[in-house]
């Protein structure tokens, strides 16, 4: 240790030792974690060194030690509706009054003015969740769901109108289950 008491000179060994210690730990960490372990693990399942290192860094998906599972199942979705912020915005901007006007022409015949249906074969819509009504109408429109009348009805309406009708019926008071 330098004898002079000037702190800067005293500091020299501390700076050197601290930098050496931290950089050597970093080096060991990178060497082991990102190079040695992945490459050696990769060999056990036939993964080349470059891919294994990329997986250990997170550039490629998968574990450095195991081949990635490949899945070629063709998609066959039950519904095309995707709840994105855009769709939620459409539902939020829906106008029940415009929905009521449109419903008079299209829906009232079977589902009733206030959403209380005429017969058992037509579901009640009063107080049903707006998002649920919107989804079913979209499924009819996209063909994910087929129905002799509803498919044509839905196809004739555009997106915002679906939301308006859904908002209107959602706003109707649900009738008491045992009147």
């Amino acid at each position: 240790m330098a004898q002079s008491s000037d702190p800067r000179v005293l500091d020299q060994p501390w700076r050197i030792w601290a930098t050496i210690a931290v950089s050597s730990i970093m080096l060991v960490g990178i060497l082991l974690g990102v190079v040695i372990i992945p490459v050696v693990q990769g060999r056990s399942d036939g993964i080349d060194a470059f891919t294994a290192i990329c997986r250990a860094l997170g550039i490629l998906p998968g574990s450095p030690a195991r081949q990635q599972v490949s899945d070629r199942t063709p998609p066959s979705p039950v519904s095309q509706v995707v709840w994105t912020s855009g769709v939620l915005q459409i539902l939020a901007d829906a106008k029940p009054e415009r929905g009521q006007a449109k419903a008079q022409e299209v829906c009232v015949a079977c589902h009733g003015d206030k959403g209380v249906s005429m017969g058992p074969q037509f579901p009640h819509l009063a107080g049903q969740s707006g998002a649920a009504i919107y989804k079913q109408l979209n499924d009819y429109r996209s063909g994910s769901r087929a129905h002799p009348q509803m498919t044509d009805v839905a196809k004739a309406l555009d997106e915002p109108t679906l939301a308006d009708i859904a908002a209107y019926y959602a706003a109707q008071p649900t009738r008491s289950p045992n009147p």
Partner: protein, 539 residues
């Protein structure tokens, strides 16, 4: 000078009030999740209680205690008035407003997202804004600590900063570094989402930013206990500190190594690759070094004290130690709990082995033993030690103090040891009520009841603690001549290298380590943003 006492007392009483409430909530939770309280309380109440228990213990008890203790250390160890005392009171009131703003939505059930947030779940914006205020208040405290040290160093050029203050400033530095993570997460992601400005949130990035804070914050809580170990325990035991240099080095190592290891809380997360996780395991191994150094240095200091009091032979000094003194007793109990808790931590950091215990009762046992156990018992010991100085009143007798410390130790051990076993059995966390009919879960019932008993003992101890402090305010025993508080080292430092008297070099090293540990893991969310999740509002 004396009005710093009022500032410290205000902070301590807010801290211990939050602590007592949280102890009641904790005990209630233990009861509700046990077979004895199987159909009591709803999940909504349970998670409201867990949120309040977490926020009170992790944000209110800790932040206010540390700020109060910091002001006390700044005044007593530097022997000069606190600079910017007006700011200190401002910081206190900002913190109080923040706490109130946080607690109201919790109690209204609009913030049951627990104290670790879990976006895409979002709570009421007031919950988050309140926490930001508490952190803002603590930032003011950090600046005051730095200013106090800088002024002292200007008045005493070339002199080594007293160890207690050096450690407090190291803690303030660490806190400034670590709050960057949670502040970024709250300001840029969670608060806009809870305000409805955005409908989607990147959950992977949010977790990574919160992990930046999640580990160094536990060292922010832990350092005051270590300040007591290094600067109060040797004096209380009647000895000297074995090595002042090691004390400084320990707090520097805490600063350097506690910050880049936050991501070991994400060892089981899919969005980070093995390479980064191994670096986390390696760095976490090095964050154990300062604790292991402390165990040796403080045990050596206690050995000095024990031998000075006549302890003979290799272990004679242990019996000769003044275990009747609360500070010495608390240190012994804290080291035992630190041993068990540290063992839990060793398992947690075991790279692949974390899969055995992640999010099980083992983890709950780990942080209750280390934070709830050894750190909080030292908070008690610090409070008992400095209360006479703050209130000018002396204890009639240390017996109730010792009883309270023993109850806390026994309660904590009885509560947490069964959790280790339950954790290995797979008991998972944050469960409002267990289905004890399930054969696997049925076997856990008896152990949960044992830990419930521990929880009740802890509640009794917490009540006794608050009673011990309150009684002192009305005690009639004036303090004649308060004993000196801080310990002397065997070789008090005369010349200390600049790097052991300031944080310039160490901040550079922290920056380098943070870039290594968090560089790519955060950058990956910017380079190739992950598909974002829809915000799920709980308010």
């Amino acid at each position: 000078m004396r009005n710093v006492d009022r500032l410290c007392l205000a902070h301590f009483w807010v801290a211990f009030a939050a602590f007592l409430i949280a102890c009641f909530l904790g005990a209630w939770q233990m009861w509700v999740r046990s077979p004895l309280g199987a159909n009591i309380g709803t999940p909504g109440q349970y998670f409201m209680s867990v949120t309040a228990h977490g926020v009170s213990m992790a944000y209110v008890l800790t932040t206010f205690f540390i700020m109060g203790f910091g002001y006390f250390v700044a005044v007593t160890s530097l022997n000069r008035p606190l600079p910017g005392k007006g700011w200190a009171w401002a910081a206190f009131w900002i913190g109080i407003v923040g706490v109130v703003m946080t607690v109201i939505p919790i109690v209204m059930g609009k913030a049951s997202v627990l104290f670790t947030f879990y976006p895409p779940l979002t709570a009421s914006p007031w919950f988050y804004i309140g926490l930001v205020l508490v952190v803002a208040g603590s930032w003011i405290w950090c600046v005051l600590m730095l200013v106090a040290m800088r002024d002292w160093k200007r008045e005493n050029p070339g002199q080594p900063v007293p160890l207690a203050m050096f450690a407090t400033v190291a803690n303030a530095m660490l806190w400034l570094w670590t709050t960057v993570g949670v502040a970024a997460e709250l300001v840029f992601q969670v608060i806009p989402a809870s305000l409805g400005l955005v409908q989607t949130i990147d959950a992977g990035l949010a977790r990574t930013l919160f992990s930046w804070t999640l580990h160094a914050i536990v060292y922010f809580w832990l350092i005051p206990a270590y300040i007591a170990f290094y600067t109060m325990v040797p004096r209380a035991a009647g000895g000297r500190l074995y090595s002042d240099t090691m004390g400084r080095l320990t707090f520097i190592l805490f600063l350097i190594y506690s910050l880049p290891v936050g991501m070991h809380h994400l060892l089981m997360d899919p969005q980070h690759a093995n390479g980064w996780k191994f670096i986390q395991t390696l760095l976490t191994a090095f964050v154990a070094v300062p604790t292991l150094l402390t165990i040796f240095t403080i045990t050596a200091s206690l050995e000095i004290a024990g031998r000075l009091r006549g302890g003979r032979g290799v272990f004679g000094w242990i019996g000769a130690l003044p275990w009747d003194r609360p500070m010495v007793l608390a240190t012994g109990l804290a080291f035992v709990m630190l041993g068990f808790g540290g063992f839990g931590g060793l398992i947690n950091m075991g790279y692949g082995m974390n899969a055995m215990v992640h999010n099980t009762a083992w983890i709950t046992a780990h942080f209750h033993l280390i934070f709830g156990g050894s750190v909080v018992i030292m908070y008690f010991a610090i409070a008992y030690e400095i209360w006479p100085r703050l209130t000018g009143r002396e204890y009639a007798s240390p017996a109730p103090l010792r009883l309270q410390l023993w109850l806390w130790f026994l309660g904590m051990m009885v509560m947490t040891l069964p959790w280790h076993w339950l954790g290995l059995e797979g008991q998972w966390r944050r469960v409002a009520n267990f289905n004890y009919a399930d054969p696997i879960i049925a076997g856990w019932g008896p152990w949960v009841i044992v830990s419930l008993v521990g929880g009740m003992v802890l509640l009794v101890s917490a009540l006794l603690f608050v009673r011990n402090l309150a009684v002192l305010h009305r005690s009639t025993l004036p303090v004649h001549q308060p004993r000196p508080l801080y310990a002397l080292a065997v070789h008090p430092p005369h010349r200390v290298p600049a790097s052991l008297n300031g944080f310039g070099l160490w901040n550079v090293l922290v920056l380098v380590l943070m870039v290594l540990a968090y560089g790519y893991p955060i950058a990956q969310f910017v380079i190739d943003p992950s598909p974002s999740a829809m915000v799920h509002r709980m308010h």
